[in-house]
């Protein structure tokens, strides 16, 4: 096959001629299929437009379904209509061009001064701008920018280009210097920007803006009268002066000029006379006469969305006249080709009048295929429906017009035709009701097919759908490994892996096929001749015998297969990891809770996706790069992202925070499910049951925990409750909490990973979770309403000391403020100071209440235990539940909105007290008073809005950032480069350290090494 290279892409408009030329069939009937079930000739699904039914051949190209790409047809519109996509551009163009002659309303070149100097002329001929030229310009009070160049345009004409543009012409042996005028300057600017391949949008925008300013056309106008050329009158015009004589002539012609009208000499023997009343006269020289025209006044044009243009003013003031599409089209046709470039358009590819449709292209049927419903009924595509509407109205329009219907009816039908054509292109137009299906569903028009997330570009071209994938709800199972995923049998029987039968797996494959469709079975087999056979209840036994080398068996996934597991939104790389399959009963994916953090998953109904890898390369890559154990340490912050959460932390905390003795049997029970051969020597013996004389060996809680530590581990770090010391794989002292085994922190996990590697870390996390669960199940752990109870004394202390005390202090502050005794803080007004102090005081009140609550509840309390161990929740949460909810705020300030001078009618205006501004003194357990409840809702709402706004915003930021940094790569020399191999960073992260390999942001942790050596 010959390969072709794309040289460029051309954008343009389809001309009516082009539409007719590419049309395979004219469409005149609105119906699709006839009574005989065959497509109607010249109908919308006519066979010249391509085929969508198998077995038929295209009448245009003879191709079968799949071969024939489809061919366009066309509809001849009874009257022109505006193309909705260009409605706004049409308005801009109408506004920028003369209503009469169609020229763009920008000034032509005009005369500045003339010189006759041989030297200067020779400069021009050599195409240089000498100092003398600069002097000449400044003599005439015109600034000539320093870096300009001159070039010969044609005989006796030169063009100076640069920041400004001038034209020099040799006329009557003199050199006339002209300012190039807006039109030529803009044309040149656009041309230059095209050459440089930079956007011309800004320049074009300015063209429209400038041209729309003109109220009189500088090119055309009604002929008034003539005078003889030459002589005094022409001389005065040439000098840009309005002589009295000329003025007289104007006056006798009935054209009163205001004082001192300006006269501008333009290029090509034209003059423009403008007087103060903004009336222009154009003087053109021709036939030895000076012909005077009155410049055409430009009426205002108003654009009414979506497709109406109105012309306002004229003789009858305020009178509106609607410009019908025919008028619009006529005006656009008048615009000369050379002016079109000013709009940034190429007249060869896009004439403005083509934006008004006279003939409508009908897309091939392959673009709008009909589907056959189960009932045998055909259901047409939305576009086809829309085209039917267009043809119907088109027909009716023609019938009515031929019958000589009144103008009113014609206009109504025209409007209707416009509506249908508009909604065919875009069914979401502002101020236009969307066209609906019979069922009431809005139709999907052309624009909707392409636009947005589910559109052709983002949805179909950038996004793809895949096979071999499954999705279901997730639920926890700490008994499976962190790198496993529990797959329901039902799903395992649908997902397959294609295996080529070889000598080594022949027996296994036979066995698999012999299982038929039962689990670990197969769904399809492919024979050596390439025929695919479905494994069924009736043929599996026969097939199993037949399976031979060279066959391919699509076997069910089974335990040990590697798959990709993913939860959306996939914000970072650990949102997709490789897991090993574990087929289980049930209908949900089972997931070890320790891998929830990277996926950001919980079990409140989250669903996750699973993808089965199909090639050996993919499986190898997944195993090496995407395996869970490989991703325990996050490259983002260099700490484990996988680790104990919730009950795991609680369990280990419970186990290690008090001294305990475990009998042999108890120790075994707690360590069940963990691969340990030897309990080690017991610490000692004790009497059990107590009171008896039976001495029983015991193991301590530290010993039990040390069982899961890799042997020889040395580590010392600051835990939440004091130092944790691990020596030689034994926990010497300290309590295991979130900082030790939690995700995101987990010092032990971190250390194990770096020292013992992936596999050991995986085992450690598995074991610690199981150990924790075993223990927590043994001792029991719960939290209920009664756990928020605080003894009466404590309650009293909270109410009186903390809360009431603060309220009194607030009152005192207010009193001081009102007595003007309060001293302002630097940079703040007195009022701000007061607010600040009150906020501080009330914040302190809650803190105090929290401290009392914490003390009263004690470590025995499950809530406090969870907060302290870092398993879940905080002391603040507990404070709010048990002691005092505290100050509610909006934008970091006390609540002050509501009524004038007060927040609620329950308070007096001007009341600054704690109660009146959102201080909630009750706890959730006590229950909030009505006003407190209201304030809490006010504060809560802000939090809600905040999160809603933030997630969408940060999501978009993320998308942009990803798109920007997408193909940056760290090369072998540690530089970061982009695709053109340009350096972005000379050393990755400036220090060349991969955070997941270094120690907490540094390449090496010196302290740790020293401790290790000693």
């Amino acid at each position: 096959m010959r390969t072709k290279k794309i040289k460029g892409v051309k954008f343009g408009l389809l001309s009516p001629k082009e539409i007719r030329k590419m049309s395979a069939s004219k469409i005149i009937t609105a119906d699709t299929y006839g009574e005989d079930g065959f497509p109607i000739e010249m109908g919308l699904v006519n066979q010249w437009l391509g085929v969508i039914d198998p077995g038929l051949r295209c009448k245009t190209c003879g191709g079968r379904m799949g071969e024939c790409p489809g061919h366009f047809g066309h509809i001849e519109l009874a009257a022109p209509v505006i193309h909705i996509g260009y409605a706004k551009l049409i308005y801009r163009i109408l506004n920028a061009t003369c209503r009469k002659c169609g020229r763009v309303l920008l000034r032509e070149a005009y005369f500045l001064f003339s010189v006759s100097d041989v030297e200067l002329e020779s400069d021009l001929k050599r195409e240089v701008i000498s100092e003398k030229w600069h002097k000449k310009f400044s003599d005439n009070d015109i600034s000539l920018p320093s870096n300009v160049s001159v070039a010969k345009e044609k005989n006796d004409e030169w063009v100076i280009t640069g920041e400004k543009m001038f034209i020099i012409r040799k006329e009557n042996k003199k050199l006339n210097i002209y300012d190039a005028g807006e039109k030529r300057s803009f044309l040149r600017e656009i041309e230059l920007q095209r050459e440089k391949q930079v956007g011309i949008g800004e320049a074009v925008k300015r063209v429209f803006k400038e041209a729309a300013k003109s109220s009189v056309c500088p090119y055309c106008g009604d002929y008034l009268f003539s005078i003889n050329a030459g002589g005094e009158l022409e001389n005065s015009l040439n000098k840009c002066l309005m002589s009295k004589k000329l003025k007289k002539i104007f006056e006798t012609g009935g054209h009163l000029l205001s004082k001192n009208p300006s006269v501008i000499k333009e290029i090509d023997n034209r003059w423009l006379i403008t007087d103060k009343n903004k009336i222009s006269y154009i003087v053109k020289k021709g036939d030895n006469k000076l012909n005077i025209h009155c410049g055409t006044p430009q009426k205002d044009i108003k654009y009414e969305k979506p497709t109406t243009y109105m012309e306002i003013g004229g003789e009858e003031r305020e009178k509106k006249r609607r410009l019908m599409p025919t008028d619009v089209r006529e005006r656009l046709e008048r615009i000369p080709d050379e002016d079109i470039a000013l709009f940034g358009m190429n007249p060869k590819n896009a004439r403005p009048e083509w934006m008004v449709l006279t003939v409508l292209p009908v897309p091939p049927v392959t673009v709008r295929p009909s589907i056959t419903l189960e009932s045998g009924q055909r259901s047409e595509d939305d576009l086809t429906h829309k085209l039917v509407d267009i043809i119907r109205i088109n027909q009716r329009f023609m019938d009515n017009r031929d019958a000589g219907a009144p103008q009113l009816i014609i206009e109504d039908l025209w409007e209707l035709l416009q509506y249908h054509v508009s909604t065919y292109y875009d069914n979401k137009i502002l101020r236009l009701p969307p066209a609906r299906h019979r069922s009431g569903r809005p139709l999907k028009a052309m624009t909707q097919r392409l636009k947005g997330k589910e559109g052709r570009f983002r949805g179909s071209l950038s996004g793809k759908r895949v096979n071999f994938s499954a999705r279901t709800v997730i639920s926890p199972n700490p008994n499976i490994d962190i790198d496993e995923v529990g797959v329901p049998e039902g799903i395992a029987k649908e997902l397959t892996i294609g295996v080529n039968v070889t000598e080594r797996n022949l027996d296994l494959m036979k066995e698999v096929v012999r299982n038929g469709r039962k689990h670990p079975g197969a769904n399809y087999v492919r024979r050596t001749d390439g025929r695919k056979v479905k494994v069924t209840e009736s043929n599996y036994e026969v097939l199993a015998e037949e399976v031979d080398l060279g066959w391919k068996v699509e076997r069910h996934i089974r335990d040990g297969d590697i798959v990709l597991f993913n939860r959306q939104p996939s914000l970072h790389r650990v949102s997709i990891m490789a897991h090993y399959v574990r087929v289980m009963p049930g209908k949900t994916f089972r997931l070890n809770p320790a891998v929830c953090p990277p996926y950001n998953a919980d079990y409140d109904g989250d669903e996750m996706n699973l993808h089965v890898l199909q090639t050996e390369e993919a499986r190898a890559e997944a195993k090496i790069l995407l395996a869970v154990q490989h991703n325990i340490i996050s490259p983002r912050f260099g700490r484990p992202i996988i680790g104990g959460i919730h009950d795991c932390v609680t369990g280990l905390f419970l186990l290690t925070w008090t001294k305990r003795k475990f009998k042999h049997k108890e120790a075994l029970e707690i360590l069940k499910g963990i691969d340990i051969d030897d309990l080690g020597e017991p610490t000692g013996t004790f009497k059990s049951p107590s009171g008896t004389d039976i001495e029983v060996p015991y193991w301590t809680e530290k010993q039990i925990f040390s069982m899961i530590l890799p042997s020889g581990l040395n580590l010392q770090f600051q835990g939440k409750a004091g130092d944790v010391i691990i020596r030689g794989g034994e926990l010497i002292s300290g309590v295991i909490d979130e900082a030790a085994i939690g995700s995101f922190k987990g010092r032990i996990i971190d250390k194990v990973f770096r020292q013992y590697g992936e596999e050991a870390t995986k085992r450690f996390i598995n074991d610690s979770f199981r150990l924790a669960i075993n223990y927590i199940l043994r001792v029991g752990f719960s939290f209920g309403i009664s756990d928020e109870d605080i003894p009466v004394e404590g309650k009293k202390q909270i109410r009186e000391e903390a809360v009431h005390g603060a309220e009194l202090k607030v009152e005192e502050l207010i009193r001081a403020y009102e007595a003007e005794e309060l001293e302002g803080l630097p940079g703040r007004s007195l009022e701000e100071t007061l607010e600040l102090l009150i906020m501080q005081e009330l914040g302190r009140a809650r803190e105090e209440a929290g401290e009392i609550a914490e003390r009263e509840l004690g470590m025995e309390n499950a809530g406090v235990l969870m907060a302290k161990s870092g398993a879940r929740g905080s002391i603040l949460n507990l404070t709010q539940m048990a002691a005092c909810v505290g100050q509610q705020s909006v934008r970091g300030e006390r609540i002050s909105r509501g009524y004038q001078g007060r927040t609620l009618p329950h308070f007096k205006p001007g009341d600054r007290s704690a109660n009146a501004h959102g201080f909630v003194r009750a706890s959730f357990k006590d229950g909030l008073s009505p006003t407190e409840y209201f304030f809490h809702a006010v504060g809560g709402r802000e939090a809600l809005v905040d999160t809603a706004v933030r997630t969408s915003q940060s999501g978009y930021f993320q998308r942009r950032l990803i798109n920007a940094l997408l193909d940056l790569e760290v090369k072998n020399d540690e530089t970061v480069r982009e695709t053109r191999n340009t350096v972005v960073q000379f050393k990755y992260g400036e220090d060349g350290v991969d955070p997941s390999k270094g120690e907490y942001g540094k390449a090496v942790d010196v302290d740790e090494i020293i401790r290790e050596v000693i």
């Binding site: 053109r980 340009t982 350096v983 000379f986 050393k987 400036e990 220090d991 350290v993």
Partner: protein, 80 residues
């Protein structure tokens, strides 16, 4: 360009820019095995470039304070 205190080059937030010599340029390009064009660019109109009076085609060495590696070096090619 004003000199002395008002110069932006003196500002604490402006890292040190220095035009590097031919020899060093060669060394730099050799170490990274790149051509001049593959360096990050900086415009001639950049106030710092104006300040140190660099020309188009010069390479400036920028010494920045870095959070990760106390001092970090960066090179940029002056373009129009």
């Amino acid at each position: 360009m004003k000199k002395g205190k008002d110069s932006i080059l003196e500002h604490e937030l402006v890292p040190k820019h220095k035009i590097i010599e031919e020899e060093e340029v060669k060394k730099l390009l050799d170490t990274y095995k790149i051509k001049k064009e593959q360096l990050p660019k900086i415009k001639l109109s950049d106030p710092v470039i104006k300040g140190i009076k660099a020309k188009v085609g010069d390479i400036v060495k920028i010494t920045r304070q870095s959070r990760t590696a106390r001092k970090a070096f960066f090179y940029r090619l002056v373009i129009e």
